[in-house]
Amino acid sequence: MIDLDVSLPLARFPLRIETTLSGQAVAVLGPSGAGKTSLLECIAGLRRKASGRIVVSGTTVMDSGRRMFLPAERRRIGYVPQDALLFPHLTVEDNVRFGMRRGAAGESLYRESVAILEIGDLTQRYPATLSGGERQRVALARAIATEPRLLLLDEPLAAVDQQLKGRILPYLLRIRDELRIPFLYVTHNAGEARTVAKEAIVLREGGVAFAGPSDEALRSVTVIDPEARFDNVLAGVLDAETALGETASLRVGSAVFAVPAEEAQAPGRAVFAVAPEDVLVSTKPLSGVSARNVRPGAVISREVSGATAWIRIGSVGLEWTARLTLAAADELELLPGSPVWIAVKSHAFRRLR
């Protein structure tokens, strides 16, 4: 539980955030420059000019009314900034160990952090030799090795365009489910936000434009953030045993999808993304198409931004986002409640790792 009542003067507008977040996992959405990073820095204790009150799981870390400002080193809040900010003079191992407690408990936490973030092969390398995604993972391992009471993650906008490599999301899901550390996750990918967090806030020009369930946040993001992505993110289990000919099968809840066999080399928990551009929508039953995944569904909502129509479709217990041209959506007369079929070819399922 995080109680926020923060003000901070910024160059273009003041940051003014007043909200209470109750979720274990909260997605922070909104366009570039809306104040998302500044908000995280206020919570982490890196902005001395911030005023107001911040309470993180019962501990007041700032209360300017009582002239109280807990210094960053005593907040126990793990921060992973956009550029990772690894110490360039230290190896990956020494970076991860930087904020660790000494002793046996620290050692096991170190091993756990390295294992979860899969950076065991990188421990003796220096940050300058790592890729962007690897740096993020090391920074995340370094943050969780300090046993934080809250994690703050700021994913760079550039990473959103990387479809497969360098995404932090699969690791974040493991941290959420295995370590159960509460976190705030800044992302431009509203589809990911919905998968990772039930709760979301959307910022616009320093203020809260929306706070509530992440499913509903999508609609306000469509209007507010032109750079946002709406990937359909499917976190499930990849089954190597039940091969469907040339494809492997991904189970998400009760649904099973055909995904490319080359993605099945590491079966088990897996996260796949399907771009909204890759979801084909038909108002008639589909037959004789090459797509391996054809499912019936119904339109939930339709939002228009520019010449794009974002169609939300409920199908096999999941909510899908399809990106259509406005002309196509009008021609098909897609309205809430319309029965539709969606078709996704197996190669449109791309694994995040």
Binding site: E73, R76, P81, L85, F98, T146
Partner: protein, 225 residues
Amino acid sequence: MTPNDVSILFLTLRVALCATLVILPLGVGAGWLLARRAGGFRPLVETVLSLPLVLPPTAVGLLLLQALRPRGMAGRLLDSVGIELLFTWKAAVVATAVMSFPLLVRPARTAFEEIDPRLLAMGRSLGSSPVRVFGRVALPLAWRGILAGTLLAFCRALGEFGATILVAGNIPGRTQTLSLAIFQRTQVGQDQAAMRLVALTVVIAFVTVLASELVARRRSQRTAV
């Protein structure tokens, strides 16, 4: 080299080393404060700290002499704890320390300024106090710049003349450093003896400046990665 030359060399090295050791913590501290604290007094402080670079050394020497004389400000303090400074090798240390201080502060300040302040904030966020962040992040990232400045200051200390002669005199065997000895020998027509000492200073200065250059080069290569 005569035994006399050797003792002059050792006295000079002792004075320069002691002066460098004295200003090292002070210069690093001053460089850190100048790099991190952007106060209204900063230009003033920097100007004062740079004065020894631009003032005639004899002027600095005379000011030191005024301060250190038994009835001077610092002199009384030293007198009360029983330290006799003027016209001893320790006075030479003070003079060379003051003269070479700016040469250490400037590179140290630049090295600290090159560190991304967000890296230091990250150190705090990971649970380290400001003092520990200085030791674990700032110093390791700035040490090359500090070392280059230290070597430069050491070179300056080796050759200091004007301030030294005023506060330490030119007493053979006690306060006569290399540069003072060269001056004195040319004054009495012992040009060959002076040339031997000149050769000695050239060798020391060459080695030290070369070391400082190599350190600076390694540094620029590393930041290029």
